[in-house]
Symmetry: D2
Subunit: 412 residues, 4 copies
Amino acid sequence: MDLQQIEAKVFGTPVPEVKRVALAYSGGLDSSLCIELLRRVYKVKDKDIVLITIDVGQGKDEVDVSKAKAGKLGMKAILIDLKKEFTENWLTKAIRANSDYEGYPVSTSMTRQLVARAVAQKAVAMGCDAVMEGSTGKGNDQYRMHNTFKIFAPQCKVRAPVRDFDMLRDEERILCEAWGVPVDEQIAGGDDKTLWCRSIASGAIGLDQELPDDIWMWLTVPPKAPDKTEEVTLSFEEGIPVKLNGRKLPLDKLIMDLNGVAGRNGIGYIDMFEDGIMDLKSREIYEAPAAHVILKLHHDLEQWCLTKDELEFKAVVDRKWAYLTYHGMWFHPLKAELDAFVLAASRFTSGTYRVGLYKGNIQILKRESATGLFSPEIRSIKSKGFSQKMAKDAAVIRGLPFEILARRGGIE
Amino acid sequence: MDLQQIEAKVFGTPVPEVKRVALAYSGGLDSSLCIELLRRVYKVKDKDIVLITIDVGQGKDEVDVSKAKAGKLGMKAILIDLKKEFTENWLTKAIRANSDYEGYPVSTSMTRQLVARAVAQKAVAMGCDAVMEGSTGKGNDQYRMHNTFKIFAPQCKVRAPVRDFDMLRDEERILCEAWGVPVDEQIAGGDDKTLWCRSIASGAIGLDQELPDDIWMWLTVPPKAPDKTEEVTLSFEEGIPVKLNGRKLPLDKLIMDLNGVAGRNGIGYIDMFEDGIMDLKSREIYEAPAAHVILKLHHDLEQWCLTKDELEFKAVVDRKWAYLTYHGMWFHPLKAELDAFVLAASRFTSGTYRVGLYKGNIQILKRESATGLFSPEIRSIKSKGFSQKMAKDAAVIRGLPFEILARRGGIE
Amino acid sequence: MDLQQIEAKVFGTPVPEVKRVALAYSGGLDSSLCIELLRRVYKVKDKDIVLITIDVGQGKDEVDVSKAKAGKLGMKAILIDLKKEFTENWLTKAIRANSDYEGYPVSTSMTRQLVARAVAQKAVAMGCDAVMEGSTGKGNDQYRMHNTFKIFAPQCKVRAPVRDFDMLRDEERILCEAWGVPVDEQIAGGDDKTLWCRSIASGAIGLDQELPDDIWMWLTVPPKAPDKTEEVTLSFEEGIPVKLNGRKLPLDKLIMDLNGVAGRNGIGYIDMFEDGIMDLKSREIYEAPAAHVILKLHHDLEQWCLTKDELEFKAVVDRKWAYLTYHGMWFHPLKAELDAFVLAASRFTSGTYRVGLYKGNIQILKRESATGLFSPEIRSIKSKGFSQKMAKDAAVIRGLPFEILARRGGIE
Amino acid sequence: MDLQQIEAKVFGTPVPEVKRVALAYSGGLDSSLCIELLRRVYKVKDKDIVLITIDVGQGKDEVDVSKAKAGKLGMKAILIDLKKEFTENWLTKAIRANSDYEGYPVSTSMTRQLVARAVAQKAVAMGCDAVMEGSTGKGNDQYRMHNTFKIFAPQCKVRAPVRDFDMLRDEERILCEAWGVPVDEQIAGGDDKTLWCRSIASGAIGLDQELPDDIWMWLTVPPKAPDKTEEVTLSFEEGIPVKLNGRKLPLDKLIMDLNGVAGRNGIGYIDMFEDGIMDLKSREIYEAPAAHVILKLHHDLEQWCLTKDELEFKAVVDRKWAYLTYHGMWFHPLKAELDAFVLAASRFTSGTYRVGLYKGNIQILKRESATGLFSPEIRSIKSKGFSQKMAKDAAVIRGLPFEILARRGGIE
């Protein structure tokens, strides 16, 4: 498609009338183009384009680039800092819930909804009648943002022009060039990163193609990682990591430091099939070094501090938690109810781990917990906790249903 | 306790009258002592002691040692070869069900029940009025065997003398020595091994003690493993691995070969808390190199060939499957029903993987499957599978419940 | 809207080009109008309009009316009799799965998919490039039929004109009148009936409005039902009712007879909120006398013949079964896997019940089963099945985890 | 067995040494006999027998009888009134969780644990080294009380003499008579009643025997119930019934009043198989008129005020809640976590119902709620909530996975 065809498509698509629009502005290609679409297609005046940039920890660089690009377009975004909110109210919940959707520790699944809420609330506060964002129509983010917009700004129209005008990325580039929208290839796709997990564009990677080594930001692949074990200690309080190597750290700092240490030791590699919101599979490549260490140890600690029944049931809750979060249902009432369960189930999950990180391996070297339920003094064969003899009758009682089944027969 | 005290304890415990006893005989310390207990305490004549040794793949060495020890005691065991039965009817089910109880791929959990069924059936066939086995009263095996005995020989009394006389291992040793029962320390504890997973006695290992390197049979710990990736291809048909490096192999051979390759590359290490049948935790160390490779690839293949709904539900089924198997409920009717589900869910799980094994890492290098559900031609942004525009209305429809929730309010 | 406006709307909506169309023709208002829309809007010739009427047990009257109406429009439908298929392959599965979606025994949820498969298969066989059906865009049936069409005729376009042209029922009536499409008010809405359950149009009934007595076909409301208990016996074999009052009957006949008996005794009334496929709630009124009796007794029989573990897990399976069936996923692979489970779980569900039906009450008078697991000879306090004393140690063993929890503290 | 044999059995059973014993004293046969067993067999002095009677709403009569009987034995029980605690902290949780174990609304399952906690806490406070209660060894209560004792008085020995001496009821009677223990047949078995549900001794009732009409306390069987509908209104606030017929009532009063009204209209009949803690089935007859009305309306209200996802998941939580409560795990940490979920899920469950009670039927006549999610203005065909046309694309998107499945084939 050439410029003329693309413009014909865009200008030929009927659009609803909007007066004032809050735009989720990341500074990426999609949301930058949105500014010009608002001006040219939606005929919205600059004073009615409310640019909102949310800092969820994508890094100062990205925020600065975003600011600069808005400036080039003659706009100034409202910057809302939600880093603390993200780590303290979202990542804590994720860690306690063992955050795992089919192997993906859910990351932008969360930030999209965090961003959408902030944009929607600002839209309402500033009297907008529409909200806009840059999602495509093939992915998951459109649903995550739409749901959240509809909860916090139900009266606003929702527009996602890349989807609504059915634009391909190449077409977007052509429009940007023609309309003077700055494109910085460096960070194209970069908005899919949080401190928790980085998504690596998987579109270009075939199923039988091996991954190049230069796609990673934190990760050194195992063969190139140091040939020496690096030891780390991590302490949890009520399910949350609070100390790294004995130093109390805020959670965001702790995760960022751990991304460094674990990543350079080959940890955090994810290559998986993922079932998207529309039930379509994609192949995804992620890196999440800190998440891998934290989630592995958190889970081990739970296996120590929770009873068998809790472990069994919490697995069901955790799975649903990740499902809802991934599917854009963070603000769904069920999510709040699962959070209540998970928080209650975390009251004893405290302890300290020493682990060795070595070329992709996380080996637990030492465990400490005052709230663990491992009681060798009862269980071990030599213990006086209970006499073995007692188990004889217990075995008979436990076996009674099998005697009844034997009478009925039919078992092979 | 000295010999006199131990004998007083044993002879002072009332025992039921038994005429003919089928003894599950592994050749280990416990079951060897049982022979002498049958003679001395239960007053059973040699002709009424039916020794049964089951070969479930513990290795020819163990079987030979068992035979020799029986010989020294003047007995001859009936040897029943269930290797084929174990791999073809038990391990296949385990693999299809992603066999995972809290991180343990369930191994002796299965063989105990397989052994108990064979012993029970033989007991019935040979007119025994009791079955006997060597479990202690602190572990899981007593329950697994009891349940199975009660299904297949409900009329037989069940005796587990180590438990019933409340004997410690040291006490057993003293008795063996005094009574002339041969003890071969080499294989003490060795009966906890199958080709699928080897259990390493964890009793002596404290929580803060690092594991020595010489406890492994298959495993070379990652730092000592080769510094070069070893590539392997594995093919699955309907959920079962059938080819290794392009060669069609029977499942037992395939697993044993893979234990070698994967083990020497640092794969298969398990250090975990495990919730036993009595809901008491133990720390367990296992090695399971082949199981780790097979289960990882099987799961990845399922994530490719099963729908999201199947994956979600099969996880529930698999978890219950492992729970039942671990808890000595292999022959429970529910297990059969889960098997029916799992078999049906495996009809499309076919494909071939090439993986790199490197110092504890299993990296997928290439995937092939004719039955996978990854359809980039529909999903990818450039595809013509569906127009992005269509997703706009889909997002609105999907978001309707959130509009209703917004009206009610109360969401933060 | 007047005729002119409606026609403007209909003719103004762009439609895809279609050559030959298979139309699911029930004879109702919606599908009758479809014929004329195919002629006038889609410009399809009569020879390329393939009318298909499926008999799923809606009654001979309805089928005859449908035939007559087609005749008046100069058409002749292909009649496919799926009554046997419906009862033998669909209702049997439903009964075994305790068929219950939020209180609704799922009925048209099934027949829509049965119809859609037949239409799709015929469409493929007759070289059609489109399939058409009469669903609206607010209900569940459009999704059920669409999914099924896409499985069995993926190459065909799917059209649902009432939805696609956004027509209200009044608008349809105006069009029918103007275009000479016969409307028989008698059976308007009547296509929502199967022998299993009849749906009563709930749209006009407010939340605070009591239901009139004349809306029922089978049901006599309890106050008007006979003042005398009517006794019935029902026998199940492997989960399926096979005899009524001692007479072996095919399932469809048995259900129809039972609808009569149970209905006249006040049984089968359903007034509920239902969560539709789009997650929107509706208030629904159904009558399902036979279903109520069969499902209650089937469930009681399962509670007798299945173990506790099976009951617990089958409840999860049944719930998912009903969910999938309701949501138009009958042909989804997961449904087939659940069916495998359910069938396996039904092998012991055999027995005979005598019940009293009285003014809405179903009272079990007598139960018989050769495969039940109730064994009073083991359980009762006087039995010799096991000594009470044995339970003492069993209670201690079972209570061990609570001793460990007590040490940790923190329980209120 | 005659007295001599029974005494031989009792005095011949070895008992542990105990100094001071807290006895759960209901005044029934079992716990009355315990006093004399403590004196004669355990050789405990009267000053060290701590009798504790808990009032959980069994009725003033029962409490008075209990007091009188203790008096006759020269003892005085400590009376602890937990009626308020039971309704406010236990029944509220039960109602919110739709309290249903296989059809049984769990009743004494709760009170046993409530009683055991109070006894255990008193035992600790008064320096006892043992706790005692009157359960048999065939039932569920021994486990419920044992677990609770072990949490709140882990240092105390637990004795249940009926079980520990393996006594049948007839044997107990003979002992009572010989030892001067008063037996009041009126209340034998009466301790199985709470205001929530009354258990009717089912031992004597064969499977094919119809129930006599005189076994009920609250219930008038439907044929004998009035031939006129009685209307009742019931209001819920956050899941708890707070008003009956417009009058605000404390929960215990409300339930007792409703037992009267609903019972006389034929409501509350339960005849079921129940899987006990030892996985053995029993046939149970209960009456629970108020519980039936409250639970039916609570559930209907939830179906109105909760989303589909919440309903689906809460059903899993509720089922587990009832399982734990029934199995003597009220104080298990998982129960507390489920309570956290259930409480959170109840914040919108408020509304008022008008129902007609008629010969066993509970018919909803009118529903009101300000927090319901039924929005006919969006869902109904005529509404402007959304255009039907939008559903067309939604159906296509939703159907995409079926297109992919169609390509793979293999669906029948």
